[in-house]
């Protein structure tokens, strides 16, 4: 009953095998190895993007921060959701890597930036010559932190607004695979064909040990990204072990298979929660996250039975037993039906 996060589960066995294979013999360091080169071709094919470049890092925060820093000046402001990972969960890493750019928070509904909110936020900046911050890139999260997914139409509306103002668009795709399964479209349609200029392509939350791919559909800032990666201490000498993971991830569509499984587990869980007495889903669970309110007493019961998940903006102690408390449940590729059913039975 491991629903705390999609970073608590095991690495997929195919990925471990790839690491073992990559360990045979010698390889040039710093991304000069054969696998790293092959990866570029693989990513271009998967994304139907023959000009794209891909650079690997080990954490999602590194992918986000380095991509944003490569496309924002320190006197700009980055537009993001109030609940964006870059705002809430990265301890000012974007500010650090950009050299002090600001983040402007955009009105958000169900985890998604609203078009009116984005337009108002952009129009609200750069209105007083050089006194206030200049407008910088827009950063969207797909799937969102609330487990919802922007439709292609929603994406195109938002990126269209950014383009009106000449702003680049970044997608934080820590759970991009889960979103893609929900959308049922191609990787290209979900990204550059919908106006995305750069993507933090997540792997760690979807079965890898620790690799994220920064994909630049427009390669203009590729060299700058590489310089910033090195300066940020994020260039690995034994880079082949990052490449091996990402290679195995894409090979034969493993990433999609994993995400399909995680999303299915989430649907099973959400269906059970919907049916449970006193439970209310908070957002539409479209990827591998479901938020629900359950009575305090129910949480006590579940925790006591060993269920693992996070209360959200709430604490277990100190209130009435029937008070509904929000909680987040995340499913990963390794979630078994049996495990989910055990949890639902407890409910």
């Amino acid at each position: 009953m491991h629903f705390a996060s999609d970073n608590t589960g095991p690495v997929h066995p195919n990925v471990m095998d790839a690491l073992l294979r990559a360990n045979a013999g010698y390889a040039s360091p710093y991304a000069a190895d054969a696998l790293s080169a092959e990866l570029t071709a693989q990513v271009r094919e998967v994304f139907e993007a023959p000009e794209a470049v891909v650079h690997l890092v080990a954490t999602g925060t590194a992918a986000n921060s380095l991509l944003l820093a490569s496309h924002a000046t320190p006197w700009q402001t980055i537009f993001c959701s109030r609940c964006a990972h870059i705002q809430e969960d990265e301890l000012n890493a974007p500010e650090f890597f950009t050299g002090g750019a600001k983040l402007t928070l955009v009105t958000t509904e169900d985890g998604k930036m609203t078009p009116a909110g984005l337009r108002a936020a952009i129009e609200g900046e750069e209105t007083r010559d050089l006194h206030g911050p200049m407008r910088g890139p827009v950063s969207l999260t797909q799937a969102t932190e609330k487990g919802t997914v922007y439709s292609l139409e929603e994406l195109r509306t938002l990126t269209g607004i950014a383009q009106e103002f000449g702003l680049k668009v970044h997608m934080d795709g820590a759970r991009f695979a889960n979103a893609l399964i929900a959308l049922g479209c191609t990787p290209a349609e979900a990204t550059w064909k919908s106006g995305i200029d750069m993507l933090s392509f997540g792997g760690t939350k979807n079965g890898l040990m620790g690799v994220e791919a920064a994909i630049l559909f427009d390669p203009a800032k590729s060299r700058e990204f590489e310089l910033r990666r090195k300066r940020g201490a994020h260039l690995f000498s034994k880079h082949r072990f990052l490449a091996a993971q990402m290679h195995a991830y894409l090979e034969g569509g493993l990433w999609l298979e994993i995400a399909t499984s995680a999303n299915a587990a989430c649907q099973r869980l959400a269906d059970g929660l919907r049916a449970a007495p006193g439970a209310n889903l908070m957002y539409r669970p479209e990827a591998n996250i479901v938020f629900a309110r359950l009575p305090r007493a129910t949480h006590r019961h579940l925790f006591a039975a060993g269920a693992e998940y996070h209360l959200w903006d709430a604490t277990l102690d100190g209130g009435p037993e029937d008070e509904p408390l929000a909680a987040r449940f995340v499913t990963d590729w390794s979630a078994s039906d049996a495990d989910t059913d055990r949890f639902l039975a407890l409910l």
Copy 2:
């Protein structure tokens, strides 16, 4: 009819005289001159604060940024109003000087942070171990950017909340003199006796050529401030000319006299605006700023006659003539009754 800003008017003649006097002979550079030493004693007396230290800089942004950077780590967030100068008018200078701290915007009414808003903002941060930003200092603006003034009780409520969480409080006092006149209390009461730990004590908007005093009521970070000032290229070799201005400003209460005059001009202007047909004041004008909505046609008439002031979040062209458009009027020490009356006559 110069109501564009309190930075467009002349330097007070006493201050010019002081500069001329300071120009006689030789003086040690870098604040090692006699006037600079004397200034410390003077500030301590004015603020009844025998431990306070004072460091001069030439711009308000420098005072704010250096004070905040000396009291915030790069992984903290600074709590301020949505309309604070540090948020809207300093092109990310606080982010630059702190090395990438964040600003958390607090709900604001009539330019003033609300207690509930401040508490909610503070409680909303530092809730997820080291993933989100740590809580940093609170920064209040007095008088506010809307021309209102925090009462001592309001101040104490806000600083009390900060203290509950162990947070330091900074006051951006670019218009501190104007606020003090409105409050009718002592400088000590308006600052450290009300829980203020550090003050950007404005001079430039109140008759100086370009000097602000950073006052640290708790001198613990004084040396760090000095190091940051030098590193930020804000330590003047011919520092005596900063000291001379600030010295003349405090001498014989000139600063209060100037602010009294500016506030009175503002009242005269506000009274006239209140009486004007189609005019609506937007906030209570307690210092030297008044915001009012006037019909577009009236603005056209005023501008054509040579009046100088800023429309606020509005543009002159392209709407109905009777549409009310917001504008900001600022009075400085040099505003004459005749000038104000001429403006009011035009109305």
Copy 3:
């Protein structure tokens, strides 16, 4: 014949096994797992340092930069060798992480800072009040980039000078294991008993996939290190896989066994080079690096036969065939006697 670097070889099989074992089941993220906790105990025992704290990162540059940034202010200067990795090989990462501290280069002989050089460098700074940089930590590299090793006496002399001035001492121990084998002393003797305050304890160049341990013998800045690590995007969600590597590395003294093997391979290589016609060793090879000058023609011959190593400050083309060109040879744990002998036979 892989002598290009100790980052081109395979991960030790014990480490791969540990990764596979760590992959069983679920674990808390962000260093809250059981292995990470156990690691602290293990490091304290190995270093006889019951107060020490250890934080893992994935690159040596991250370990160096985060340790230095946690112990230096932006207005200080860090004292290091002219050939230090932090000076020559980290693309200004120390400057980035410290927020702009300077590096003062100390006179170096055979890769080692000289005591007179260190004293002169320290005395040369902080001589003009706050105009020049303040004195910050000293950073030593052990084993050095030239393959030499500071004796304990040499270490104590240098750390003694730093202590005279109240400066902390950092050791860049990317090849600490190799140095320790050469010294034949305990880890404690080679570090805190010799005045080292913090250690970048290398693993990646000695058989790991990508883990370095930042060890703080004085834990005062431990929390700051953790905050800086997170902000620098260097905190891994699946941290157990870093812990597993480092745990296996220390377990049963594997790290020392590996380093012994690498050093022995280096001696074998060095002996062969010494005997080769026209070859001259440049420094005393005490760890796993040997620098030698060989005639251009010899280099051509070796490269043509598939030998892998780096020319140093020299290029193969464009000079006389008998011109001696410097080269660096590095041996890692996987270097076999047969391989080395094949290389020497070519000579």
Copy 4:
């Protein structure tokens, strides 16, 4: 007998008059005033540079740091003399403003970078792909910190080397006027006609209260400079008072007149020192600085009589009376012959 620095003397009366004149009436803030506009035309004429842009700041460190930061990335290294102000006297301001660029010290003789030293320094960087710092701008000081002056031929040799590598050249001209008098050429010849791309054009050390002009002969980075100036808190609201000083400085060649006077005083002083028993000049005094070694006893005698100057890398107490101790003497525009003669008489 004020020879401590050229920042201890009075502001030239013409400049004080200009400040008084600028104080009449109202003016737009933030460099939008009439004087600021006029200044651009004036600078273009003086430098015969119709494309040049000029931005004013109040300190030399600000001019240097903002110019360098506008032309260097954080992963580059700036080439400068070991004794450059940006290296020794700005408390890491260049590192701060550039976001962590490095400074590479070039071999220097008599305060001047040597051509061989510059070439070696440039060739020594950017040799290992993206591991070491990239090559950034070259920064020369004219007149040098030792009181010497680069000839036009020397300048052209150095800027020619920079151009070979595609590097921009900055001139720290805190004492540019003094150098120009020594050279006897036009401002254009001394700068862009000799390969200088940007100039920190000093005023403060030559009779102004506190203004330096950053002149960009190539205006490509002008907007970036303005943004950095604002973000660095160096944009003055009452900017007209900076413009007034610089305007008066250039008007009718006042700046050259002042510098001529300062240089003449320096020659008078140097001639006297050459003739004094036991005195040795250390460098050729070509501008307004002279370094000399005098016996300790002589220094005692001079200080006792009220002479003001700095010992250089030496302390008065604790050695033999006849030991020669280095000292720096600086003359400013206000130095009178009588004063100098009084000093020489003491000798």
